[in-house]
């Protein structure tokens, strides 16, 4: 069985996926992803062989010490995560050029974590100035180059259109409802119930309906979130969370929905409350 895997950026080949060497004395440990373990039918304790040679030799044997869930990466959620993690000396030994003793000492890239992430640009310039030939760049994407920033803006645009459309729809419904209650409102005003009292009642009703609607929407989003995540996680075999309704999103929904609902209710009611009493009885 031969599978191509990515191993800390080095292309390797997994040669053996079974406990083919039970009497092997002490083998270096390797961790394999859940996906790789499933594909190669590996279990903890199995002995596997890795090589960088497409032909399959020479291979280095490892013992599977654990199976891990790879960190979800939204930029690579469609990729099959056939990955393994091993100790750096083992990796170096496996990848070194036997004809070049210095190759074990060569370093292609170093990842650095800065104490102050905001200093990345300054650090990048500093490295370039001090060591010409070394390329330094921040791994964090700037907002203008971040594809998710574009996606975010797209989502904001969709949500604005949805909110405006929803408000118009709600307003139309409220106007129809106000028209249906025209005679009752006329009666109430006729017997002396003031516009202010009726507006207060409408305000309370609108507040109640909008709050219930917002809560219903949040519950629906939470339920939808679970369904969408399960479908896409199964589809792409990933633990990536595709949809998440955060408290902040829920709060924003209420902050938008309740005033808009109340305003729509008041605007619709005013089409009836603004008329003179007798006109409310005329058809």
């Amino acid at each position: 069985m031969v599978l191509r895997v990515t191993c800390l950026g080095v292309a390797c080949c997994l040669l053996f996926g079974v406990n083919a060497f039970p009497d092997e004395p002490v083998l270096p440990d390797v961790l394999v992803t859940r996906q790789l373990a499933a594909r190669a039918h590996l279990a903890v304790g199995d002995v596997v062989a890795f090589t960088t040679d497409q032909g399959g030799a020479p291979a280095t044997r490892f013992r599977v010490a654990g199976i891990y869930e790879p960190t979800p990466d939204p930029m690579r959620f469609t990729a099959q995560r056939m990955e393994a993690r091993m100790h750096l000396p083992d990796l170096t030994r496996m990848t070194m050029d036997s004809t070049d003793p210095a190759s074990a000492e060569s370093v292609d890239a170093i990842n650095l974590r800065l104490v102050d992430p905001a200093a990345a640009q300054a650090f990048q310039l500093d490295v370039r100035t001090r060591v010409p030939g070394i390329t330094a760049y921040p791994t964090a994407r700037s907002p203008d180059r971040d594809p998710f920033a574009v996606l975010d803006r797209f989502h904001v645009a969709i949500s604005i259109v949805t909110v405006l459309g929803g408000t118009a729809f709600l307003l139309a419904l409220m106007i129809i409802r106000a028209e249906e209650r025209r005679e009752i409102i006329g009666l109430l005003r006729l017997v002396g119930i003031s516009r202010r009292s009726l507006l207060a009642a409408v305000l309370l009703e609108g507040l109640f309906i909008a709050a219930i609607g917002a809560v219903f929407g949040i519950v629906l989003a939470l339920a939808g979130q679970g369904i969408v995540n399960r479908i896409f996680q199964a589809r792409y075999d990933t633990a990536l969370v595709f949809v998440r309704v955060t408290p902040s999103i829920a709060l924003r929904s209420i902050v938008f929905a309740v005033p808009l609902g109340v305003a729509a209710g008041l605007a619709a009611s005013w089409t009836v409350l603004g008329r003179d009493v007798l006109s409310l009885f005329r058809r």
Partner: protein
């Protein structure tokens, strides 16, 4: 200062219509004193209801003046007229106009609540009124569970809820059979006897006959 609850002087009401203005009332003068019982009769379309709306502070005259308890209605804001309708005038309609989602007791309590009557006081007053109209056992019933006569009695109780000076009724027996209509007329007699002024517009000659004053209308004018 007069003893009139309401007084209309030279009142006219013209409705502008696309096909031309319609004059519903022409130079009508009328007064209803405290404890008065006035019936207005006349053919359909003669302006009875229009006059009732003006007297009830629902509408404003095109010309002439109306004073309610010595206050010129034309000078009052809508909120002040609304307050007068709430506390000083009781309305009874041909079609009852009870709120369908409220029980009989709640329909009677509503104007009291709007007038700011404390809860215990208005519950007591509602009980009294339900007994007054002989519907104490129907307090928790919705209008849909009441007969026409019972609905009209609840409507009369609602009209009396805030102890008005004037009860205004527009064809109160129009949707009732003779027997039930007579019961409602009996109830009006009791209300009148208890000191509330009544102005009723009706086609029912038996009801009109019970009034202390009967006025006839024709083509927007009161007949001499």
């Amino acid at each position: 200062m007069t003893h009139a609850v309401v007084e209309a002087q030279g009142v006219s009401r013209v409705f502008p219509m696309p096909a031309g203005a319609v004059t519903a009332l022409r130079n009508v003068s009328l007064h209803v004193d405290r404890g008065d019982y006035v019936a207005i009769t006349g053919p359909s379309g003669c302006g009875k209801s229009t006059l009732l709306h003006l007297i009830g502070c629902v509408d404003s005259p095109s010309s002439g003046s109306i004073s309610f308890e010595n206050r010129d209605v034309a000078t009052l804001r809508e909120s002040e007229r609304s307050r007068i309708r709430l506390t000083r005038i009781g309305f009874v309609f041909q079609r009852f106009f009870l709120l369908p989602m409220l029980t009989a007791a709640e329909n009677i309590e509503l104007p009291q609540a709007e007038a700011g009557v404390p809860a215990t006081e208005r519950r007591q007053r509602t009980r009294e009124l339900l007994e007054y109209v002989d519907l104490a056992d129907r307090a928790g019933h919705l209008p849909s569970q009441l007969s026409g006569g019972e609905m009209q009695r609840v409507a009369i109780a609602r009209a009396l809820a805030n102890r008005p000076a004037l009860l205004v009724a527009d064809e109160p027996t129009g949707e009732l059979d003779d027997t039930t209509g007579n019961h409602v007329a009996d109830l009006f007699d009791r209300v009148h006897a208890d000191g509330t002024a009544i102005l009723v517009v009706t086609h029912n000659s038996a009801l009109a006959a019970r009034a202390s004053r009967r006025l006839a209308m024709k083509s927007g004018s009161l007949m001499p």
